[in-house]
């Protein structure tokens, strides 16, 4: 797990160790609001294990991806706070 992957979080480039999750990358990029709730509140990861769905983001145009269960890939485009 020595090599790194580079992805974009809201147009900001982030380099993460291979095997890192998108959730970790989003936090590394300084974003804390992963999504907006039904009433517009900022939300971020809660369970860290794929159950709560609070860490949903848009990955390569696909909405509602659980960032804590998704591994970072080179060139990935991630959008938060949608």
């Amino acid at each position: 797990m020595s090599e790194n992957v580079v992805l974009r979080i809201n147009d900001v480039s982030v380099s993460m160790a291979a095997g890192s999750t998108v959730a970790a990358a989003v936090l590394a990029a300084g974003a804390t609001s992963f999504r907006r709730s039904a009433t517009g509140q900022a939300r971020g990861p809660l369970c860290g294990m794929g159950i709560c769905f609070e860490c949903r983001v848009t990955v390569n145009g696909v909405a509602h991806v659980r960032s804590c269960q998704t591994l970072c890939e080179d060139g990935m485009d991630v959008r938060t706070d949608e």
Binding site: M1, M16, A17, G19, S20, T21, A23, A24, A25, L27, A28, T32, S33, F34, S37, A38, T39, Q41, A42, R43, G44, P45, L46, C47, G48, M49, G50, I51, C52, F53, E54, R56, H64, C68, Q69, T70, L71, C72
Partner: protein
């Protein structure tokens, strides 16, 4: 068609898989996570941090097991055939025997501010750090209840976090009894090791969080101990209230639930023929109990009942430990008063405590407020309302996980 499909690649599932595969059965292990290990051994498949994890991953590699990762079982097409969704496809899983090793999740309780970003589960924050989050230099308050708080605090500290304190809601007498039981159960070395790793970190019993504060993200947490209340500034609040078994798949398949866990017989078999269960889904009891239950289930499906019986005494000892564990970290009634009227309970649908308390039952609340009807399907708010209102949370229906519409249509 496989001889055995195992749902869950944590310790129980891996132990079951090893035993069954060693007896020559064809074994498929299905798991939602990208790698094996479950929660406790997350990220340890290629660099185990304990000798126990090393031994088990070596065992797994020594036999022939097919792993299906990143797959969520969402429906039973017919008895003996499950459907799982992966990022790109639907996988059909045909089995002769099924072993449910779906583990447990953290229990979360609502209090004002608990929905703020950076208020994360204790195990949740650890999972994020294990998968790449840098915690170095961050101020962390660890709060809630259960031995997981200690393990998480020690782990975070070793990764550079400034762990400000651990707030444990359990009273000191019960904690002392638990400590004595740890020593009696042969876990003295582990307890001692944990104490060493946590030297200098404040551990406050009879203490719990009452509110988290911040604008769009966490800035501080207010704690309560006795009549004293005070605020602590922090970057993360790692907060969980012990664990609850993941029962959704078992319920979908018609397995009987007793006292909040899957009921099994001495060979870990559920009331449904061909379906077994092992590990935390049959009751929260820790790593050793999960492993031995997994081994028993794996041997049982391979018709090695005599071999399995040799492990019963180990399991009995671990179950006694589990009982003490769950008594020690039982929730105090004061925690029922944390939520204010406007505190959100159901995070998927933003349903507040004040709206829920008008209803008599989970069913009524769901119908009127959509509580528990979002994507997590009540996995977070269900255990909370069970504690807050004494509601019986039920009515699992397929799909047990939200899936793409085409996954449903192609395999109805």
């Amino acid at each position: 068609m496989s001889d055995v499909v195992i749902a869950g690649a944590g310790p129980a599932g891996l132990a079951a898989a090893w035993r069954a595969a060693k007896e020559g059965l064809s074994v498929v292990v299905v798991d939602d996570n990208p790698n094996p290990g479950g929660q406790i051994w997350r990220g340890e498949h290629d660099k185990p941090s304990s000798s126990e994890a090393r031994v088990w991953f070596e065992r797994i590699r020594s036999v022939n097991i097919r792993f299906v990762h990143g797959a969520r079982i969402f429906q039973q097409a017919q008895p003996g055939k499950l459907l799982a969704e992966t990022p790109g496809a639907v996988v059909e899983l045909n089995y002769t025997n099924l072993i449910l090793a779906t583990g447990a999740r953290e229990r979360f309780l609502p209090f004002p501010g608990w929905t703020l970003p950076n208020v994360i589960g204790a195990g949740g924050l650890q999972a994020l750090v294990k998968t790449g989050l840098s915690i170095a230099g961050k101020r962390v308050v660890v709060a809630g209840t259960g031995p997981l708080l200690l393990a998480v605090a020690a782990y975070l500290r070793e990764h550079g976090a400034n762990v400000l304190l651990i707030a444990e809601q359990a009273p000191p007498l019960r904690l002392a009894r638990f400590g004595a039981h740890l020593i009696a159960s042969g876990k003295a070395t582990q307890a001692h090791e944990l104490r060493r790793r946590l030297r200098g970190v404040k551990y406050l019993h009879n203490c719990w969080p009452v509110a988290a504060h911040g604008d769009e993200q966490l800035a501080s947490v207010t704690l309560q101990r006795g009549r004293k209340r005070w605020a602590v500034e922090c970057d993360y609040l790692a907060c969980g209230f012990h664990l609850v078994p993941n029962l959704e798949l078992a319920e979908l398949l018609g397995c009987e639930i007793e006292n909040g866990a899957v009921r099994v017989d001495q060979f870990q078999q559920t009331n449904v023929p061909q379906i077994y269960a092992a590990g935390e889904t049959t009751g929260v009891g820790g790593l050793e109990l999960s492993l031995v239950e997994g081994e028993i289930a794996g041997l049982a499906v391979a018709n090695r009942q005599q071999e399995a019986q040799k492990l019963f005494s180990v399991r009995a000892k671990q179950r006694r430990f589990a009982r003490t564990l769950n008594e020690t970290f039982a929730l105090r009634d004061e925690l029922k008063d944390l939520a204010a009227g406007e505190t959100i309970v159901c995070r998927c649908e933003d349903v507040e405590f004040g709206r829920l308390k008008r209803y008599e039952s989970w069913r009524a609340a769901k119908l009127q407020t959509r509580c528990g009807m979002g994507p997590c399907q009540g996995r977070v708010c269900g255990p909370a309302v069970e504690f807050l209102f004494g509601w019986k949370v039920e009515s699992v229906r397929p799909p047990v996980f939200p899936v793409r519409i085409e996954s449903m249509l192609g395999h109805g």
